[in-house]
């Protein structure tokens, strides 16, 4: 089918204003927040409801055209990069909270709803949506479902999969199905659990039933300042092993502290080697006692200062700075790649030393801001995309970091997903049997392979395409 014919067909289904096809319109859609690779879709559609999504998908299925779902494009692994000649289905016009059920603590929402908007809707009723990725002001619930997103507070409250009860999905042949529903338990295999985190390769999620959790009545947020990264990371292990269960436990190193302080003027100590943000929440009864215990532990681990947020405004300022921290490194370099390895928490001191060594070996600067309590690292590798040799070193250093995570029994991704970025690493984490089991799952949902091809599971073809895209990206720079 020609591109012009496809555009006419799609315009006929959705209206001309919902179909983008001119080069300047498509520019926004050639990557997500992982910018090392780019691919321009043939056409982008902006459906308004599930039936419109189903019509587009049926058309793609009938004409064997690959397609890919996209939320806000905040993903960090290239999960919504367009396949060659593909149709991108952007869900950003599907933003309704269809139902808010306060008594049953659940909501039915469309996939394009922004994560923070859901919590803002629920908060007047004393409820919130627990997964709170740093991009929560922009990222969508559909994207959260695709990536099984986390965030700082998932240390206590769990990731997206712990908060999804049901999923409405357009299957790759255009059939609309519900997996799970408004109740907690669906009989048989855990299909909704399989779809969460499947990175849009099983179908297009159009609505979700999510659980809401009560907003904790009490909260204590503290900033612990350390003169050594080792002491800060030892303190993380000590807190967890000592029985303190924080709602969030985050860490920033010196390079990151400098960039964040320059942007937000929070009063971070720019001479410190590391800071920990520790948040405890729950009932007021017993909370101060737990906070005192945490402060004592942090001091025993060498914190030179532990500051308690004075009020909600200061707490909000601190979290705003933390959640926007990654953006602050724009002050340090024109480009960045955020890695996402996970390690057992007790390995934090050694892995942070290893990351510093990798930075030296590849002659790169790496800043760290991450979910220390989960052992979920986010080393941010700084670079200039106009320097092809630096781009090559960035890719190699990223892989070296992930290999170091695997060597201590960790994972290559804690919340950003595989996408195209880490396809090459899947064979290092998983055996051929593991991968063939995953291939059976993909084929069960997506037998034609038209839905978001070339993501998550490595194939000979996807590896060649990845390498070609990276070569092209390097050459263009």
């Amino acid at each position: 089918m020609t591109r012009d014919r496809l555009v006419r067909d799609l315009q006929g289904m959705l209206g001309p204003e919902a179909v983008l096809h001119r080069p300047e319109e498509l520019l926004t859609y050639d990557c997500d927040a992982f910018t090392l690779e780019r691919a321009t879709p043939m056409v982008v559609v902006l459906p308004r409801d599930t039936q419109q999504v189903a019509r587009v998908v049926r058309h793609c299925h009938e004409h064997q055209i690959p397609f890919v779902p996209r939320g806000a494009g905040t993903g960090l692994s290239g999960g919504c990069l367009s396949p060659e000649g593909g149709v991108m289905i952007a869900l950003t016009r599907m933003t309704k909270v269809c139902e808010l059920d306060v008594r049953n603590r659940r909501a039915v929402v469309e996939a394009g709803l922004i994560n923070l908007r859901l919590t803002q809707t629920a908060t007047p009723h004393g409820l919130c949506f627990a997964p709170d990725p740093s991009s929560q002001m922009a990222c969508t619930i559909g994207g959260n479902v695709a990536e099984n997103s986390g965030g700082p507070h998932t240390l206590k409250y769990g990731v997206t999969t712990n908060h999804v009860l049901g999923i409405e999905m357009v299957m790759p042949d255009g059939e609309v199905v519900w997996l799970g529903g408004r109740t907690d338990d669906a009989p048989g295999y855990d299909l909704r659990g399989l779809v969460v985190g499947s990175e849009g390769t099983f179908g297009i999620v159009t609505r979700a039933v999510v659980k809401l959790v009560p907003v904790a009545p009490g909260v204590r947020t503290m900033l612990a300042v350390f003169d050594s990264v080792d002491e800060a990371s030892e303190a993380v292990s000590a807190l967890i092993a000592g029985g303190v269960l924080p709602a969030a436990l985050e860490m920033m190193d010196r390079m990151m502290i400098g960039a964040v302080e320059a942007s937000f003027k929070f009063g971070f100590p720019t001479d410190a080697e590391a800071v920990l943000i520790v948040e405890l929440d729950g009932l007021e009864a017993g909370l101060q006692q737990a906070a005192n215990q945490a402060v004592a532990m942090l001091q025993a681990q060498g914190a030179r200062e532990v500051r308690l947020a004075r009020d909600d405004a200061e707490r909000a300022h601190l979290w705003n700075a933390r959640k926007k921290a990654v953006g602050c490194v724009g002050r340090l370099a024109p480009n960045k790649v955020t890695q996402d390895g996970v390690i057992p928490r007790s390995k934090l001191p050694s892995i942070l030393r290893e990351i510093a060594a990798i930075a030296g070996r590849y002659d790169l600067r790496i800043a760290n801001v991450f979910h220390a309590g989960d052992g979920n690292l986010h080393p941010i590798v700084l670079y200039d995309e106009r320097d092809p040799d630096e781009v090559r070193r960035v890719v190699e250093a990223g892989q070296a970091i992930l290999r170091a995570c695997l060597a201590v029994g960790g994972s290559i991704t804690g919340e950003h997903g595989i996408g195209v970025e880490k396809l090459d690493m899947m064979g290092e984490m998983f055996s051929p049997s593991d991968l063939s089991t995953m291939a059976v799952l993909r084929d069960a949902f997506n037998p034609t392979g038209l839905c978001n091809p070339g993501k998550l599971l490595p194939t000979a073809k996807s590896c060649v395409e990845t390498n070609a895209r990276r070569r092209t990206a390097g050459a263009e720079r």
Partner: protein, 422 residues
């Protein structure tokens, strides 16, 4: 490479020696002692066309449909070692045949716990815990099996190893194979080891009990469903007259004490009878409730209904109607925040009449967005235990036929065979 059934039995005998029981009356049982042996048994069974049922201590062996065929029972109890325990990471890996009680005894030496309060932990192997995914009585505070499972190792029907997840608390690499095998009732692979995250044991724990007449029960339930308290346990026992509400609080002495007082104060306003329990008395009551999640011991039919929490009492009213219609009795155990209700039916009925009870329950649930899974039923009641909708069945059948193409494992348990192209 295929082999005849006779060759298969010979090879199993060579491999297992005295660890293969093969009585003349039928019912062969293999007792492997390690994951390698499990894989070899499955490889032989697969090549020779034998069907296999994986069994731990058998507590939930009756879940799902009766098997269409079973040549060999694979007894996983010989795999009972602790493989790795890192208290500082709060992560533990153990073989599938260890029981939940044994695991928690080991964790207790470090003041840690896997807080899944499923019925009879002494008879629940970790493999069975994952494969059957029974619901925990303390679900309000600690969630479900799937919330604690970090990783697993599985022997495939062909005897290969598949690993899902890992030993870190956050992990989104690849598809979530823990979700695939969790609750799959032994139809996709033999779980040989599991990795759980664990948590510190609480310093204090108390229970508050309130007895309330059924007519006054719904406002109390609504208050608990929208409460600002954080109970670990929010359960109800139901009979034809009354609801007994149980709230359990775990945590520091100060937190627990405040919640106990606040709950007592709130419940007193309802006019119900209130009782606070602590120490051994609370522990015993908690264990009794925990074991009731398996249904009442004397019940012939146990239906686990999953519906909206706000519909718990409506579901209960309909269960009472069904029991009256059949001249039998029913008692119930519900989880207040999850809409889970175990209805335990008791009485003297012929086997096909029990089928009618189950069918009527399902019919009564129409319009309430609820499903009823039969966790216990008379053998010949001939009604589907696990109700699957057609879309889910089709997808599950494709997964089953893709991962167990020769139909080695528990054929018929979910009635998926022959449905993959539907």
């Amino acid at each position: 490479m295929t082999q005849t059934v006779t060759e298969g039995w010979t090879k199993l005998s060579e491999l297992l020696g005295a660890r293969l029981e093969r009585p003349e009356t039928g019912g062969a049982i293999a007792h492997p002692t390690g994951a390698d042996m499990v894989r070899e048994v499955l490889a032989i069974a697969s090549r020779s066309g034998l069907t296999v049922e994986i069994v731990g201590l058998g507590l939930r062996q009756g879940w799902g449909e009766p098997l269409a065929r079973r040549d060999l029972v694979l007894d996983m109890r010989g795999l009972d070692r602790m493989l790795e325990y890192a208290p500082e990471d709060m992560v533990v890996m153990a073989e599938a045949g260890m029981t939940l009680l044994e695991l928690n005894a080991l964790l207790a030496t470090h003041e840690q716990v896997l807080p899944l309060e499923v019925a009879r932990p002494e008879a629940t192997t970790l493999g069975g815990l994952v494969a059957a995914a029974p619901l925990s009585m303390s679900r309000s505070g600690y969630g479900e099996v799937r919330d604690w499972l970090l990783g697993l190792e599985v022997a495939t029907p062909e005897g290969e190893t598949v690993k899902g997840g890992g030993k870190v608390v956050k992990n989104v690499a690849g598809y979530d194979l823990c979700k695939l095998y969790g609750g799959s009732l032994g139809t996709l692979g033999a779980i040989t080891s599991v990795t759980f995250k664990v948590r510190p044991r609480w310093a204090d724990s108390r229970l508050v009990k309130a007895a309330i007449g059924l007519r006054a029960a719904d406002p109390v339930l609504e208050a608990i469903q929208t409460t600002s308290l954080f109970p670990a346990i929010a359960a109800i026992e139901l009979d034809s007259e009354r609801m007994t509400l149980w709230l359990g609080f775990d945590g520091s002495e100060e937190t627990v004490s405040w919640q106990e007082q606040e709950a007592t104060r709130q419940l007193r306003e309802t006019g119900g009878q209130i009782e606070a329990l602590s120490g051994p008395e609370a522990s015993l009551a908690r264990e009794r409730l925990r074991d009731l999640t398996q249904g009442s011991p004397e019940a012939a039919l146990v239906a686990r209904v999953s519906g909206l929490p706000s519909n718990l009492l409506e579901v209960w009213t309909r269960a009472l109607d069904v029991s009256k219609n059949h001249g039998i009795t029913v008692d119930g155990l519900g989880l207040v925040h999850h809409g889970t209700l175990w209805c335990s039916f008791k009485g003297e009925l012929r086997e096909q009449e029990w089928g009618s009870v189950a069918a009527m329950i399902r019919s009564e649930l129409h319009g309430l967005e609820a499903t009823a899974t039969l966790e216990r039923r008379p053998a010949a009641s001939n009604i589907e235990a696990v109700p699957l909708d057609p879309v889910a069945r089709k997808l599950m059948a494709r997964i089953k036929s893709g991962l167990d193409p020769r139909g080695v494992l528990a054929p018929g348990r979910l009635r998926l065979e022959g449905n993959s192209h539907g």
